[in-house]
Subunit: 428 residues, 4 copies
């Protein structure tokens, strides 16, 4: 099997149908799990991370629960016990297996979950055959299911990385070619943006999540934004300058956590033979100083920005700057599975790939936001507290999944995603 | 002793001098401690709360460290060991006693802390006598010290309430007259506000904290705001409607906490003889249905708003609405020490008293915010993550301490302050 | 495959050689794992329990480390990284993977661990071929390795039960025939024993663990001992009499734990359709009132004894009473995998099978005990505090593994082994 | 006030009456609290330790509950709310304030507790006046109350030491004269004891606790016992030899705890100016190498014994050896409040003073033990699991409180009592 082609979505000349996209997306999930043993797929590294098998089953449950059960006549549950096992957090859908115990689900077996997927895929085929999939409500739910599964594809990869990083054997998810020597370093340029009232949030008929709406006006003050991400080389300067030992750079919560947990580098940095290495999906490799730093928390990103005399951008500034984004896109479609040095291109580079970018915006509802009715309304709205917005995409975000208005969100202490940062500053 | 007069600041005909205000403020702290035994003053109810004695000493250390040591020639520390004991969180000022152990400081004794206060007060007198107190930098530090002490006066009262609420004897801080039957109920009115660009943040020469600046433009969308706080009576409707048992009202973090901790009412509600009572500074009393609900977390406030089909205001909306604030001010100056029913007045009532009001704004830096240099810069900036802004004042906020631009902040799970809520909604 | 025959050790007419026994034992471990998927074998239910795969690898590491490495000329480690993964607690053997993370070891894979086992088995064959295996020191180590692996066979089964008990699907390790209706109930008889000085501890040339020695004299007071174990039926009387709600039956530590954890029945009891069921290796089954109660902690066993007006026996009394043991042996050799009602036999029944029996003896060194030199000395001695002695055997103890002097030990709160109790009382 | 005379019980020529002893004991509790402020008396250092005020009130509640309420006609509770506050653990006496919150009881005030004590003392006087105090049952309860209060006197001192040890000011409970240079070092001698059946446990009409009975026969093997305690000097050899860094000396539980908590010396050792000091009731003082080591856990004591090639004695051996005890008694009666070097005397020295001595005996019931009926039966029996027996007395044990059969007990990890060790070994 050609691995890369199976996880990439080839750029089509004509936009593929919803049906095609659902089928392709479903297929890609299995392809992503392919390099993993049944054991690898069963275990969870920590409460925040889920097993691969659980991702495969949960995304399937999502289609079963929200599409097939209500909309495919005569549909019967594949297994009455699975909703309890594979509901993530939808209170309106009933009780469920505790999140921290997902890794204990050796049953259903991997084979049974694959059969579950096949059953649902066949049932989706039946639904497509009815022609009903074009009805607005069903199409909307299918789109959500598809985008939901794409999100879990990213989590599948970051969660397996979290697991492998705890292994004494430090296995690779996939062997990687030794990194090409990046000759053309990306120098940081600063793009200036004027003050003004801008339109923020999604518009048009294409799919978006509820949290990207309603589109509304926002006031942005003049700012400058770096045209590339902060690199490992720059981060190591921060480390050498006492970044992890001087409280003056840090938010109080971050400093307390960093001391308690003994942080002294990004999550997956490891010192070997007196040199910094990094655990990635290709195993343990020497850190590439020109590649963007990844796996840093908001606390660390904010501390770095203070050290550098800059700040993180707001989500609104980022959305404005996205209009000048370069065309580079190192996402899952590139098949590289790691953040790469910025290319020599014009425009704001690395905006939709490499690393999700911490902003200094708290994850809050847009003015006028209303969560949808019913269980599907629990998708985004109920997490709108204590988390920070991240923008862009990462090297493991499915191609086509994200857009300028996309709002990702994590707690300020979380680090296991491919999270990095881009600096901003006030303009006069 | 006339208790009320000693804790109130009489409204003066002429603005009192800084010197007078410092002296009055320092005196008031001791007056607030007066109803308490040395034992009461020594203990802390929980990690978040500090002992009265510690508040008395810490505020004193603040003047010693930031005013006297650098600016009074020849000043020598009262006791070389006290900075370790009474530094709260200023990393730049060195190591300190752990916060959770403040209640173990039986030494220095209460009498020694009173002597410490007297010594610093005398040294401040010496500083005043030099005339130097009018120099800008020193005056600014004195103002900060004064405002800092006012903040701790409020904490002193909320922290002692937290302690007494854990006592099997449920003692009163001060006996209260039985509540007057509030005949004139405050009906909720809704004030409308237009969209527009508004100026937010402090301006002028009067004192403010760094986090209220810089003044900047913000865009506010049309909204309506309730002209009084949500009452206990309304809150009990929420409780009867399953407010604490239905996850659909709640943010996910809030729901998880509420279940884990078994929340079923505001923090100090207690059921006695099948009727809700509330622990306050006057001991256990039947709940007054017309008084504002207090001691609810952000999670609860947000859940209530969702239940009511409304939302919490943003801090900017609140600041705009403050221009129409009624003149009522049930703060520490009233001497009532408890939230009171809204008066029959025009305008937005209960804005600067009764309860701090949760907003849906995360506590983040204003555009262009810079923390001051040095240890004093740790005052506000390093807390700008994961907390929510509260506006207004409470029944135990010293008179004159607050203003429309004032930004209070707490974590969304905290409840021990006098925290309540006011509803808002989008206008067409 | 005939499952039962593969996990049983047939009673031989002639004592099998050490070589044969090692080979048989090693083979049985794999047979026990046979009904489990690779996923089942990878996961751990809790910190106390280990994954099947880990048991398979750890017992293999034991032979590699203590037998092959020092005694087979030219032996090279199968994999340099495995000792870190599969050392359990031998400090003298170096650092090791944390116990609580054993379930994260998806790598090495199940297949690699099977290969590891094969490699060590072949190397043991080479050792046998040298004839050296008869040398005293090596034979002793082989015996320890064999007995060590037998212990892990029991743990393998109790640990997989712990895992399956947490599964929403409650899978069976092996389908069981519906229990035969036990017509002949075992009535409890009381056997009397006189006072006297007795010899306690192992003697003779057969294998024993270090903690069973030295044989020494002990004074036993006159006592009576029940001739069978406490049954589920009797335990349910205790439950109906408020056994889990009345503190007067309980040790203080036990009561505190039972309240904190909400205990109201033995570990694997579950109420279904208003009737008590129990999770066993055959899945969820109605409780058999005549079978011995299992999966109770020392705290519960002691509370039951107090409720019954009796007490638990000491380990010395038990060892004395073992001289009158009936020949019944429901251990792993019976292949039933569950505790069974007492048979109608003479003598003290159920002594070497069904359930390990809590005694009221703390697990302490015998007078004159010395731990062996070196890492192997860490086997037993370093656990001699805070645990209680259990005697006998359980329904999952390999046949031939145990004997009257055998000392099993667990903490008083642990319940996941097949642990039950037998009553005793003072005689006049 | 002459402090020493008030805390000592002068050796009387004639045995004092029960009445006199009760009065003297009650008086001594107040005398012990005398050097402490109300604040000192209110706070608890940790969950295991109680505030002085609580000790004063709890011992008073004990007399009220078990003596006055049932036996003084017409007695009415001093305050209906106090039983909830001051019941320690007697389940049969109803609900109670959580142990970990004892330090939050600023109310009742110190003055109120003193009044409570006076009220109970007066009521006891009335009881004495009735002559009923001589009735067997009442006399027995008074004896228990008296001995109970003596136990709390010791705890009062060890608990205040625990509190002061956490203070940045390291206050002294009482200023101590600089230690006299101990010229005559105590050399360790080894006393030999034969094997035999001995009588263990209390006999005669004098008071003892239930756990010292019934007297019964026990078999003791030949042993040798050190005639003095292990000293600080010897302990520091252990430290220098890697005692806290080499797992081979340690029980597994102890090693895990020592690593987790970072133990590197006895609890109150502090390094100052590159020299070991120790916090005691006289504040921080240089360690006296000839004085017994104190404040070590069972884990440490056991590790030391293994290091020294010896072992700890059993409680039975200790009780046998007590027959050859030297007459030295550095208990609370000496007024020194710290362990002292062994005197040049014949016999087994330091047996009833200086430090409680860890034995290798688990705290279990004696053969034939029955807890008394009713709440008083909760005194000892319900703690008979997971703790180890300590014998002797410490420098803060009230004179006359202890005897050879006395069984003290603590968990193997506890260190805040004056706990030390004496070595033993097997004899041929």
């Amino acid at each position: 099997m050609n691995f890369q082609s199976s996880i990439s979505v080839a750029e089509p000349s004509v936009a593929p149908s919803l049906e095609t996209r659902v089928i392709e997306t479903r297929r890609r999930s299995l392809a992503l799990a392919d390099p993993l043993t049944a054991e690898d797929q069963c275990v969870q590294a920590m409460d925040d991370a889920s097993p691969t098998k659980w991702h495969l089953a949960h995304t399937t449950w999502f289609f079963e629960t929200f599409v097939l059960k209500p909309h495919l006549a005569g549909y019967r549950l594949f297994d009455e016990r699975f909703p309890f096992c594979f509901n993530s957090y939808y209170e309106a859908e009933g009780d469920r297996h505790p999140r921290a115990h997902r890794g204990l689900l050796t049953r259903p077996t991997h084979a049974e979950v694959v059969a579950y997927r096949a059953h649902i895929d066949e049932s989706l085929d039946k639904l497509f055959a009815t022609g009903m999939a074009h009805e607005t409500e069903i199409a909307r739910l299918l789109e959500i299911g598809l985008n939901h599964e794409e999100q879990h594809q990213e989590l599948l990869l970051t969660d397996i990385l979290a697991l492998f990083a705890l292994s004494p054997l430090l296995p690779a998810y996939r062997e990687q070619p030794s990194k090409p020597q990046s000759k053309q370093k990306g120098e940081t340029g600063w793009m200036s943006f004027d003050s003004g009232i801008v339109e923020i949030g999604h518009t048009g008929s294409a799919f978006c999540f509820d949290n990207e709406q309603p589109r509304h006006r926002a006031l942005v003050h003049p700012f400058r934004m770096a045209d590339r991400l902060v690199t490992n080389g720059e981060w190591q300067e921060f480390m050498r300058a006492g970044g992890y030992t001087k409280p003056e750079f840090w938010l109080a919560d971050g400093w307390a956590l960093a001391k308690r947990e003994g942080w002294e580098a990004p999550l997956y940095y490891r010192r070997r033979d007196n040199q910094w290495h990094e655990i990635g999906l290709g195993g343990l490799q020497p850190v590439d100083p020109d590649a963007p730093v990844a796996h840093v928390s908001y606390y660390e990103a904010d501390a770095y920005a203070r050290f550098a005399g800059k700040r993180l951008p707001t989500e609104f500034e980022w959305e404005v700057a996205a209009q000048r984004a370069a065309p580079d896109r190192n996402d899952l479609g590139s098949g590289l599975l790691r953040p790469m040095p910025a290319k020599n291109e014009h425009g704001v580079r690395q905006m939709f790939g490499d690393c999700w970018e911490w902003t200094q915006s708290a994850y809050l509802p847009f003015p006028g936001y209303k969560a949808p009715e019913g269980a599907i309304g629990e998708y985004n709205g109920k997490f709108m507290v204590s988390q920070m917005v991240l923008k862009g995409a990462s090297c493991v975000t499915p191609a086509g999944h994200t857009r300028p208005t996309y709002r990702n969100f994590f707690y300020p202490w979380q680090r296991w995603q491919f999270m990095g940062l881009r600096l901003a500053e006030d303009a006069a």
